[in-house]
Amino acid sequence: MLDMLSSGLRVDGRGLEDLRPVEIKCRSVNNAEGSAEVRLGKTLAIAGVKTSIGTPFADTPDMGVLIVNAEFLPIASPSFEPGPPDENAIELARVIDRGLRRSEMIDLRQLCILPGKAVWELWVDIHALNHDGNLMDTSALAAVAALLTSEVPKAMVNEKGEVIVNKNEKQKLPIKCIPITITVAKIGDKLLVDPCLDEEEVADVFLTATFVDDKVCTIQKRGEKGLTEEETLKCLRVAQRKARELLKIVKEVIGYG
């Protein structure tokens, strides 16, 4: 692999900065308020969005609640074992959560129904279905696409102060922006965007970054090696460029203006 890389080619024929072909399919799950199946090459992840009404956190009485969970189950890979999320699944969920939260993709204040008493809870559950590398970016995109195309019932407070939910009147979530997550892997001295499984297994270190409006709102370095400052900045600049590219694709596919 290192020989191929020195001539700028990857095992699947891609250039160092090429993403795998992206496929996004939304709204396939009728019972969920939102859903999206995303493929990056052969990697497939599905995200579902469910809403419920709950009490807000004490320190943010006027904000809705966002919960992100991820599962790496045996269906996706012979290396995944059944059981509760392991450190990789937990890390992935928390990184994606930070990306959604810090970018303020969803205006959580508009999810407030009755301050201090009732707010919308958004449950984003991500399941890996086929692991061929870079579950991080695939899952992040699935979560974003599911939220973009979610339709949630309208809720209002009547004269008696009770919360009434009208399941027949649906509306989109209050979206402020679209965060895009890109992972760059380092093999030897080469930086590769969107690593496939073969590349992930030999990579020394990974840098994942989530961008919104060209600004970075989440970074996570993963792997048991280090990166120089120069390599880090190089990764981030490449990721920033690819995020712009992927954002265009997302807007086209979902038809988001």
Binding site: E87, R94, R102, V216, C217, L233, L236
Partner: protein, 252 residues
């Protein structure tokens, strides 16, 4: 300098001073004590302002369960844990998702510095207990764990120093406290091997332009070099102490 009128907290006042009086590029005082836990192969206690952490290293030792052992290197395991009384509202002792993530990132911050190839079929276990949390706990944990690893005699490529960068009232600040983390705009934990110039922990939670990020990394790199000196000093002092005890012991 807490102004809680209208629930707005002033994190940097008109003098440019932070809540605890520090300037933006000032770190808290760090105290490091080596070898305070006798059962461990290596240990350290770190106090960084009100953040107080014990770190212990057991290893290299036999791996249990055995199927986890690797034939060409030691495995490194890490447990970051906060005591229930370390935070304002009692925290359940059960590991939270945050502690699981932090255990992973701390392990990945330390492993690049350890010459694991020297100990096949072994494990090097790092335990960190936060007994009082006031921001930057993962960074202080890494500072403590590095010293503990070195004091255990484990061959290291370098020590790992760590610090955090925050952004409060639009100003980049060094070494974030709990209140600055809660009410600030950015939290950027950072760790590096200062001699090798390699970053081994980098996370960002908050919005930054790439130029701001570059500046943050510079600030953190400079601070890590200072912390590195303190780590080395603490290890040297312990060595001098041990040497003295051995000589005294030899006289009897």
């Amino acid at each position: 300098m807490l102004n809680t009128k209208n629930k707005k907290i002033v994190l940097i006042d008109s003098d440019g001073r932070r809540v605890d009086g520090r300037r933006p590029d000032e770190m808290r005082d760090i105290k490091i004590k080596v070898g305070i836990l006798e059962n461990a192969d290596g240990s350290a206690y770190v106090e960084q302002g009100n953040t107080k952490i014990y770190a212990a290293v057991y290893g290299p030792r036999e791996v249990h369960p055995r199927h986890l052992a690797l034939p060409d290197r030691a495995i490194v395991r890490c447990r970051y844990h906060m005591t229930p009384f370390s935070v304002e509202e009692r925290k359940s002792p059960a590991p939270t998702r945050r502690e699981i993530e932090l255990s992973k990132v701390i392990r990945e911050a330390l492993t690049p510095a350890i010459v694991v190839e020297q100990f096949p079929f072994s494990s090097i276990d790092v335990f960190v207990e936060v007994i009082n949390a006031d921001g930057s706990t993962r960074c202080a944990s890494i500072v403590a764990a590095s010293v503990a690893l070195a004091s255990a005699g484990i061959p290291m490529r370098d020590l790992v120093a760590a610090c955090s960068i925050g952004k409060v009232d639009s100003v980049l600040v060094l070494d974030v406290t709990d209140i600055e983390d809660k009410y600030g705009e950015v939290d950027l934990p950072f760790a590096m091997m200062p001699n090798r110039g390699e970053i081994t922990l980098l996370q960002l939670d908050g919005v930054l332009r790439l130029e701001e990020l570059e500046k943050a990394i510079s600030m953190a790199t400079k601070a890590c070099k200072e912390i590195y000196e303190k780590q080395k000093k603490a290890l040297k002092e312990k060595y001098v102490e041990l040497r003295k005890a051995i000589i005294e012991g030899g006289k009897t």
